[in-house]
């Protein structure tokens, strides 16, 4: 039995920015039409196929940290248009639009919070801001969060949801890959844990940098995870990709991640891992 419908049934637009407006939502994986309220009650998880919809940062904070325990860090970092980049739209305008749309200055939030009374530093990606892409602000936030972790002896958890490096920042976005890895090399001189949580999607320059070198790598069910995009691969190899290709279950089978954890169990699993590594 196949877990996935043929790729042609995927509707990318509908997954783009979390839950679309309206009363009903169509699951991008199984096609089920779900009542929005019901989906929200179910932690934004499809009741039929268990696809974990993209979560905005507020919901992620809510379900991860003890009540009112999250306090943001480095909030004032905001993107600038260093290359004066313009494609069909000016990068400046894209930033402004997504800032208005999401209430965020850039695609990731960082801060500290308690997970069942264990304090941790965290970075949370929000895909609705320019596809969660990593530019200088996101790279800097990750870097500062690990530094904060070193200074305050805190574990670090990163929830990725990103299409990869932000092309509008050109070479600077590429350099965030080496920057985030450099700080992890420093962080790993301590005995503090770094847990990488991969959510839908984690691809490109994010997948090929900090997200793939966690001490423990967890994925949410059915998240798209990979270096190259499936369409690029199809175009390169001229053949159809197997069902479930580059989804969490596929990565688990191939030894690329430690486990798949459902949203409802995530907090508890994080707590268990942290308490063992920190011996608390």
């Amino acid at each position: 039995m196949s877990l996935f419908r043929p790729r042609s049934n995927f509707k990318k637009e509908q997954v783009k920015s979390g839950i679309p407006e309206g009363l009903w939502v169509k699951c991008p994986i199984c096609g089920e039409i779900v009542y929005k309220k019901e989906l929200e009650r179910n932690l934004d998880v499809c009741p039929k196929c268990n696809y974990h919809f993209r979560l905005n940062f507020k919901k992620r904070i809510d379900i991860t940290f003890d009540e009112d325990s999250f306090s943001p860090l480095f909030e004032d970092l905001k993107p600038d248009d260093i290359l004066e980049f313009k494609d069909t739209k000016k990068y400046k305008d894209r930033i402004k639009e997504d800032q208005e749309k999401t209430g965020l200055l850039d695609a990731a939030v960082s801060g500290t919070g308690m997970i069942e009374k264990i304090k941790a530093a965290a970075v949370i990606f929000d895909f609705s801001f320019m596809g969660g892409s990593m530019g200088r602000v996101v790279g800097e936030k990750i870097t500062r969060t690990f530094k904060y972790g070193i200074e305050h002896k805190l574990p670090v958890i990163i929830f990725s949801s990103s299409g990869g490096a932000r092309m509008q920042e050109g070479i600077f976005s590429l350099m965030q890959m080496s920057k985030t890895i450099a700080i992890i090399a420093e962080y790993n001189r301590t005995d503090l844990p770094y847990i990488s949580v991969l959510t839908d999607p984690t691809t490109g320059g994010v997948s090929a940098s900090f997200a793939s070198i966690g001490d423990v790598i967890i994925a949410e069910p059915k998240a798209l995870i990979g270096f190259a995009g499936p369409r690029v691969i199809e175009k390169t190899i001229h053949q159809n990709l197997p069902e479930g290709f580059q989804r969490s279950e596929y990565l688990l089978d191939h030894g690329m991640i430690d486990m798949i954890v459902e949203r409802k169990d995530m907090k508890n699993m994080l707590k268990n891992i942290l308490s063992i590594f920190l011996n608390v």
Binding site: L83, E84, F85, K86, D87, T88, R136, V137, G139, E140, T143, A165, M167, Q168, E169, G170, I171, F172, S173, L174, M175, Q176, M177, S178, K179, I181, A182, I183, I184, A185, E186, G204, G205, S207, A208, S209, F210, A211, S212, I213, I225, G226, F227, A228, G229, V232, I233, T236, I237, Q239, L241, P242, F245, Q246, H254, G255, M256
Partner: protein, 331 residues
């Protein structure tokens, strides 16, 4: 003589063809060279140099990109041949296979003024390798590594560290290979852990972008104490073609993407992302492989002798610091 020309090299091609013809003609009358023809050849040579200077004076980004991918451009193995001695290639990642798009091995570089033993510098060379003929291109997977290429490199980096031998990387790839098997075997992990391994190395690392610096697949070999680019090489988060089709949603906008991406050696030097630009011979590296090799060799030897004085911890710390503050996003 060069035989493949880019569009903007055509004026050079015509002159070279004429010169070639005259030389052949002269050869046919070898006994008594016709003086007037010699004169003509000379004046054509002068004209050719002038034309090359003219063509190369104001290259567009797109022309530089084409040069970085020039079919005659020297590749890693060319430089190994021209720069090193006793190159010993080592193969395989010890896990799955030998990736032929990545060359790795140890060699000597002869110091110009040295005497005997002290006159040789041991180095590890790791670089992307493209092919020139169709057969070679396929054999080298167009210079696009699978995870095994990166894992072979990691193995060799650690070996170099054991012997305190400096690492030289040559970067020349359109990008990591976007294939089914590559994903299956962890392309992301392979790139990330290679960057991690390089970050932590306690030996000198010197990287030179010799052609195409394509995205994460290039950066995996680019975390170095010193990073240089050849004058007509490029380094970018995405190819201009990819950028045009994804962001402009119009494949014909490649030139626009090439300009807006800021991917030339000059751009990157101005941004402070690389340490230096290695000037190319008139008309590009492919017009004088020996000369460009000498340039590269002396850059390597200078950098190695600078870095060799630093202790192991400092080499690591310096490299990590460099990549932490590279984008000047510090308050």
């Amino acid at each position: 003589m060069t035989s493949i020309y880019l569009d903007f090299e055509k004026p050079i091609a015509e002159l070279e063809k004429k010169i070639e013809e005259l030389k052949t003609f002269n050869l046919a009358f070898n006994q008594n060279n016709i003086a007037s023809i010699d004169d003509e050849i000379n004046s054509l040579e002068i004209k050719k140099e002038k034309v090359i200077r003219e063509v190369f004076k104001n290259l567009t980004n797109w022309q530089i990109i084409q040069l970085s991918r020039h079919p005659l451009r020297p590749y890693t193995l060319d430089y190994i041949e021209l720069i090193t001695e006793n190159f010993i290639e080592l193969h395989g990642d010890r896990l799955f296979m030998d990736d032929r798009s990545v060359i790795g091995g140890f060699a000597f570089i002869k110091k110009n003024n040295g005497n005997k033993r002290s006159g040789f510098q041991s180095v590890l060379i790791v670089g992307h390798q493209k092919g020139r003929t169709t057969k070679e291109k396929i054999y080298r997977n167009f210079g696009m590594p699978n995870p095994e290429g990166y894992r072979k490199a990691q193995r060799l980096f650690k070996l170099a560290e054991k012997y305190s031998i400096p690492v030289i990387t040559f970067i020349d790839t359109p990008g990591a290979y976007p294939g089914l098997g590559a994903e299956e075997r962890g392309q992301s992990e392979a790139i990330a852990s290679t960057i991690y391994t390089l970050s932590n190395l306690k030996i000198p690392v010197i990287s030179i972008v010799i052609g195409e610096g394509g995205s994460g697949g290039a950066l995996a070999f680019g975390v170095a104490n010193r990073v240089f680019m050849l004058e007509y090489s490029i380094y970018s988060v995405i190819s201009p073609e990819g950028c045009a089709s994804i962001l402009y949603k119009d494949a014909s906008k490649t030139e626009n993407a090439a300009n807006t991406l800021k991917l030339t050696a000059k751009d990157l030097f101005n941004y402070g992302i690389i340490d230096g630009i290695i000037p190319e011979p008139l008309g590009g590296a492919h017009r004088d492989k020996v000369k460009i090799s000498q340039e590269i060799k002396s850059i390597i030897l200078d950098a190695v002798s600078e870095l060799k004085n630093l202790d192991h911890e400092t080499l690591r710390a310096e490299r990590i610091k460099k990549f932490l503050v590279l984008d000047k996003f510090n308050d």
